[in-house]
Amino acid sequence: MAGGENDARLVTAARQNRAAFVALYRRYLPRVYHYVYRRVGNQQDAEDLTASVFIEALESLEDYREQGSFAGWLFTIAHHRVADYHRQQRERISLEAVVPALSNSGPGPEALALQRDRLERVAQALDELTPDRQEALTLRFFGELSNKEVAQVMGRSEAAVKMLVYRALRQLRRRCREDE
């Protein structure tokens, strides 16, 4: 998932021919959307912000210097867009929205109900993390970024991100255990 093939080549192509940007868009849309959705918690704003992230990326392609990964650069834009959004509005996180999609995933109703309960507990615990831990986990799992890319987005060292994720998961585990 991470990296992907020939991002740099696609960026070069997209600079010459904007229609080529669609390939990058298709590659990263789900990851960016999942990340943004998790951070804003509703479909409408997630769509608007996701659109603005890609439009800004398209407009700024000339500014992209091929240091680090394209994914890291793209998610840096997303990170800033989400931060702007939270400055303007109250944060909203939807738990319910996470769960309905599970209804098509196949397990029986009992397993589904248990899974749903568990995920809701995890979602709630995730909301209670400190902002930087929450952001690191969201970028890692919803944005599907490597530690290195998360470090690029958050302006931290990779070692710091690794510890951030580790401690976030430890706190999450503790919190979930308390809920049980």
Partner: protein, 813 residues
């Protein structure tokens, strides 16, 4: 602190496995606790379950293309065929808007590739895929230089190995691996950081260097991508400032690995890589949809195949292979191989438009060519047995997004409020299915705010179950309103109760609209049932290779709590060990249910196989055993990893055996009228609970249901009964659930029990508890049916705690 660093690194590796590489299973060697592993899986599941509105992706894509201002002629590199290609793209937009996503995907992919690498390699890729390279995918190996063997450099006990190099006309890919790195705590001492200037290079013999364009790195491994090498270059040196993801100063640095490449001749490719083959007559057609296995490659890590799907209706889009069930691969020995995440990046979805030549010599016709919507995808399965001579790909169903027509009006009146319900009697035809909408209700869904719960309002429509039409079934309906007050539509399907729901979401900050609103069906999800069974012969399969060996051990049994569990049959293959157990002469009223993997006392997973050399075999994750060809797995047969050749004696360790015990009990429970479910942050949507007092005595267990409430589960509304604490353990027997024989609704009809379930265990508050739930939605109206329900129980399930230890010899008697 060192422990923390060590764990942090291990955790990081694990997350990379799951998130970056899509691993479904987690290595057993991980020392991380199960809770953490489960948490990682949960976070992954949450991310993957994030809903994205149908249509959003393409709408946004349209916006990008609308922003395109460069004249079309500048996109094309001059050749007439390419111009036609671009013209076709423009034609596609203008004539069909988004004619088919399938067509567009290929057109855009080709456009991108043309801009990047020119036309010829692209056509070559599309027309001929000549090799399967694990870690890279199905690729053209024409005009490619490769490494004939991995190259290793070892310094201070650390080894960097270049596994493979593919120097292709459109770029160079290098797969690297490292071993012997210092322990994690030494690698990441406090304050260590990796600089962001990681810049792998390829140095040519004349001193020129190529800089890596992109890379995918894991600790100890990575894939590096460089521009294409000049045509005459066969000797290069890979220069790495550091090993992947290793901080400065922690391990040897400034690595240089000389690499000698050779042209990838047919002979060399055959020697180095799994050779793809084109199976003969590997296609199956059903319901106007043809599936064709174009190419197959058998690797050590996976069996990959390229599947093509073609259908007739160009308005059907976004095929989802498998529908509710993932496709599986079966062989003639009895193995069932489950799909796995491919190691390669060549698994990306491609879609194409295929021209139908109307002349034998395939001349290009001047008129627009007819097109067949075509979709191609690389599927990967667990590696197949070398002994298999015939393979069959089973695809149970396909799901398409299809256009929907029909509109209706809902009059919300002049003072609509959340909780209001408007009876409707609207019939619309959706993709040929009669859809009967019987009501609309305004409900609120939860939104959690940092300072407390919030709400989102949706207009939810109740739909009566839509009957299937032959092999077609409606799975979802997506609505649209002309008023901008609503934004997007949600749709869910309970595939057991066959109830579909759909809703319009009120846009954030908008107030509930007054009066009539026009609602239009936008699209529907349609399932086409198969199965498509595509069979082929594996070329060169060796008939003399090991066939499965079946044993019937004697004396491999154990008796506990009046039950005798016996190993009836053991089958050894090169891919798995299948063990079939039997319950010998169970007492009257007792029957085998399954072998749970968990211990009811400790709740730990303790089911495994062990040999006399102390080697432990875990349950097989990706290969099943169904020699009878039955689609369902047999609860009596457990499959483990294949037994090692030197093993002479095996022991099955089972923490418990679940049995059913007959018994009889019955009770009534009343669902009050006027109940509504409400969303509660962090919980399932549910009604307010009400107290009940329902004693139940069945199969020797005494319990009492004390609480009831309605819960929204799996797309329907269920009555959930919860017991008070009771003694769920009797000796070695632990109650695991109640068995419902029947539930009679207030109108005398039988309730469909496919959604019903019961679960007992020690995890509930206050000790051991049991829950029992069944569907209370009237299938005729789609609404909750209040009144008295009569529940009949015919027994229980109970786990008989072990340890169960069954041993047998592998030697011939």
């Amino acid at each position: 602190m060192n422990d923390e660093l060590y764990e942090a690194d291990e955790l990081s590796e694990l997350i990379d496995q799951v998130v970056l590489h899509g691993a479904e299973t987690i290595g057993v060697e991980s020392s991380l606790d199960e809770e953490t592993v489960a948490l990682i899986r949960d976070l992954r599941a949450m991310a993957q379950a994030t809903p994205m509105r149908e249509g959003f992706a393409r709408e946004l894509e349209e916006r990008f293309l609308a922003r395109e201002t460069v004249p079309a002629s500048q996109h094309v590199v001059g050749e007439a065929p390419l111009r036609r290609f671009w013209d076709q793209l423009v034609w596609s937009f203008s004539q069909h808007r988004w004619a088919t996503a399938a067509a567009l995907a290929l057109l855009l992919t080709v456009t991108v590739a043309l801009a990047a690498v020119g036309p010829q390699p692209v056509w070559a890729d599309l027309q001929r895929l000549l090799g399967y390279v694990p870690g890279v995918g199905f690729v053209s190996l024409e005009d490619t230089r490769v490494l004939t063997a991995p190259v290793e450099v070892t310094r201070s006990g650390v080894t960097l190995r270049v596994e493979q190099v593919l120097a292709r006309p459109d770029g160079t890919v290098i797969v690297i691996h490292s071993e012997g790195l210092p322990p994690e705590d030494q690698l990441w001492p406090h304050g260590a950081r990796e600089d962001s200037d990681y810049q792998p290079r390829l140095r040519l013999s004349d001193g020129r260097t190529l800089v890596s364009e992109s890379w995918t790195l894991r600790l100890g491994a990575g894939t590096l991508e460089f521009p294409s090498l000049p045509a005459d270059v066969y000797r290069v040196t890979l220069e790495l400032p550091r090993l992947p993801l290793v901080p400065a100063g922690a391990a040897p640095e400034a690595w240089k690995v000389p690499l000698n490449l050779r042209p990838a001749t047919g002979e060399l490719v055959a020697e180095l890589f799994p050779q793809p083959y084109v199976p003969t007559d590997a296609s199956d057609a059903h319901a106007g949809i043809t599936m064709h296995v174009l190419e197959v490659a058998h690797g050590l890590e996976e069996t990959a195949l390229r599947l093509q799907v073609q259908w007739l209706d160009s308005e059907w889009e976004f095929p989802r292979i498998g529908g509710d069930q993932s496709p599986v691969l079966r062989d003639d020995l009895g193995h069932v191989y489950l799909d796995v995440i491919p190691s390669s990046s060549g698994s990306s979805v491609q879609s194409a438009v295929v021209r139908i030549p109307d002349k034998a010599d395939d001349e290009v016709t001047p008129t627009p060519t007819p097109m067949i919507p075509t979709y191609e995808r690389t599927l990967a399965f667990a590696p197949t047995s070398p002994s298999a001579q015939h393979l069959a790909l089973w695809v149970d169903a396909l799901e398409f997004e299809v256009p929907a027509e029909g509109s209706f009006t809902v009059d919300l009146g002049d003072d609509p409020q959340v909780g209001d319900y408007w009876p409707l009697d609207v019939s619309v035809a959706v993709a040929g299915f009669p859809v009967h909408i019987i009501g609309a209700r305004l409900v609120q869904e939860p939104i959690v705010l940092p300072d407390g719960p919030g709400q989102r309002t949706v207009l939810q429509f109740d739909i009566t179950p839509v009957p299937d039409q032959g092999d077609r079934a409606l799975r979802g309906l997506h609505l649209e309103s002309e008023t901008a007050i609503f934004s997007g539509s949600g749709s869910g399907y309970n595939y057991r109760a066959r109830i579909m729901r759909t809703s319009l979401n009120l846009r954030e900050g908008q107030s509930i609209p007054l009066g009539s609103i026009q609602v239009r069906a936008e699209s529907a999800d349609m399932l086409i049932r198969g199965p498509w069974i595509i069979t082929w012969t594996v070329p060169g399969a060796d008939e003399a290779t090991a066939a499965p060996v079946t044993l019937h051990p004697t004396n491999a049994s154990q008796t506990r709590d009046g039950l005798t569990l016996r190993v009836d049959e053991v089958t050894l293959t090169d891919r798995l060990t299948a063990i079939t157990v039997e319950l010998d002469n169970p007492p009257p009223g007792v029957a085998f249910s399954r072998i749970p993997s968990w211990n009811p006392a400790t709740q730990r997973r303790e089911l495994y196989l062990e040999d006399d050399r102390g080697h432990r075999y875990e349950l097989s994750q990706d290969v099943g055993w169904r020699p009878s060809g039955s689609p369902e797995s047999d609860a009596k047969t457990l499959t483990f990893q294949p037994v090692q050749p030197l093993a002479r004696r095996m022991t099955l360790h089972a923490p418990s055996v679940e049995v059913t015990l007959t018994g009889a009990a019955a009770f009534d429970v009343t669902v009050p009228t006027g109940l509504t479910t409400e969303a509660h942050p962090g919980e399932v949507s549910a009604s307010a609970p009400w107290g009940v007092d329902i004693p139940v005595e069945v199969a020797g267990y005494q319990l009492r249901f004390t609480q009831a409430r309605l819960e929204e589960l799996n797309g329907t509304t269920m009555l959930m009964l919860t017991s008070g604490p009771f003694e769920g353990q009797q000796g070695d027997r632990w109650l695991t659930g109640l068995r419902m024989a029947s539930v009679t609704a207030p109108n005398g009809q039988s309730v469909d029990l496919r959604s019903a379930f019961s679960h007992a265990g020690p995890e509930y508050e206050g000790g051991y508890g049991v829950r029992l739930a069944f569907d209370v939605v009237d299938p005729a109206t789609g609404t909750v049916r209040p009144g008295r329900y009569h529940v009949k129980l015919d027994g229980i399930t109970a786990a008989v705690q072990g340890p169960w230890t069954l041993a047998w010899s592998l030697r011939a008697p």
